[in-house]
Amino acid sequence: MRLTALLSMAARVVAPKDYRYGTNRPWTEAAKRMNPPGKRRKKVFVEPIEAEDWAILKGDMVEILAGKDKGKQGKVIQVFRRRNWVILEGLNTHFRYVGKVKDYRGTYVASEAPLLLRDVALVDPSDRKPTQIEWKYTEEGERVRVSSRTGRIIPKPVVERRDGIVPLQWKDGPKDTSPEDALEKTYVPSLKTLEEEVMEKLGIQEHRRHQKSYWY
């Protein structure tokens, strides 16, 4: 018991209270460089938005309302809920050198900077203008985003799975169980434990009797 507790303690990563979360994942070198142990930073105040009120999803078409690329529309690549950030494809970029090696200055790439939620608005697909969103329920009971200006439903963007699998086009492999077999119900409730049932089925007979032992 104590060993598992130790292991779980080791697995649970403890970040210091003033850890600055950036666009890099915490286990990368860049993040470790930004947060060396012993550095103190001011606290970042993030406007609290409820999880159910979050309107912008990965893959949405979105317009920028403020900043360098004001007025441009782009697709959302990444969403950072903890800091209310979105990263758009190819917009709000700055340039930097990547892969610097001694004597080689590195590749000059454009890297996107994150935008605050306040500075972006979802684009209504019918007239392609930015609108404000409300979450409403359809007749069937589905929760959808409705544009407040036009009243049109904005559908959720179709996101590809990270492993590239399209569920409708999946073909089972030799080790996969078919859906009929997987969903088939074979359970018959009975007052027997798994061990007893299996012993019955396999015909194992236990003739040993339990010796008296003490529990304290």
Binding site: E50, D172, G173, D176, D181, L183, E195, G203, W215
Partner: protein
């Protein structure tokens, strides 16, 4: 007979981890045919051919012999390796793991068989991982290990649920292993889990030396601990209030968070 078997059942329920029903080699096997369907290659995905492998070979009653394998496929050490067509491929596709909801619809016997199928697959993947490490190569599709791990954990959960339900019905107790709330020398109250011994407590010299009480000189330290806890709690409440005030100042139109 009925009383001893019910006693046996209660004992099993109460000491699940002890595996009273360890399968020893010297047990006879009666001939019983288990009728389960073969798996088919079709649409939506799961892991492993639970169904293909369950004919129990008939063994005559000569001596008390029992075959280790109860499966049709007896490939021996080949079972530690993947199918030959997957050797050397950088990506092997695999289906989704078993969910707890699907596992709950399966009978105990099916779960028992599925466990061993998953175990063998896990052994195969571990061999593959070790070999890849040895040759300093990347293991093809390491997500299979996670899927197997999750399937096995969910299976275990389902079996434990069924056992807890049965135990509650028959004995009214939820936990299989007896225990008690006891106080240790440092003043903490904790759930002490009983251990199994062959001699009673009044004869156990080592057990006598265990202290399940708090000596009186520990009281001042307990008081200091309580003070520290109250101070930390007050600090947390204060911090929450201050952050809320600061957030309101910076974002005047924000909605108050529910938590």
């Amino acid at each position: 007979m009925a009383s001893s078997s019910s006693l046996g059942r209660v004992l099993t329920l109460c000491k699940r981890f002890q595996s009273v029903f360890r399968i020893s080699p010297a047990i006879s096997v009666q001939h019983c045919a288990v009728n389960l369907k073969r798996c088919q290659n079709n649409l939506l995905s799961e892991k492993s051919s639970l169904i293909a492998s369950s004919w129990i070979t008939p063994i005559s009653f000569v001596g008390q012999r029992r075959a280790l394998h109860t499966t049709v496929s007896r490939r021996g050490l080949e079972e530690f390796f993947d199918q030959p067509e997957n050797w050397g491929e950088p990506n092997v596709k695999s289906g989704a793991p078993w969910t707890a909801k699907q596992l709950r619809t399966k009978s105990n016997e099916d779960l028992h068989k599925l466990w061993y199928v998953l175990l063998k697959e896990r052994n195969m993947l571990l061999t593959l991982a070790q070999e890849a490490k040895r040759q300093s190569l990347q293991m093809p599709s390491p997500e299979r290990m996670k899927k197997i791990e999750r399937s096995m954990v969910r299976l275990d959960t389902v079996v434990r649920e069924r056992e807890t339900a049965l135990r509650l019905l028959q004995t009214g107790q939820e936990k299989g292993r007896p225990g008690d709330w006891r106080r240790n020398v440092f003043g903490y109250e904790y759930w002490y889990r009983f251990k199994e011994y062959t001699i009673p407590w009044y004869m156990n010299k080592r057990h006598e030396r265990k202290k399940f009480y708090t000596p009186h000189f520990v009281q001042p330290h307990i008081r200091l601990r309580i003070e520290r806890f109250l101070r930390e709690r007050a600090r947390k409440v204060n911090l929450k209030r201050k952050t809320l005030a600061k957030l309101k100042e910076r974002f005047p139109q924000m909605k108050l968070p529910s938590s």
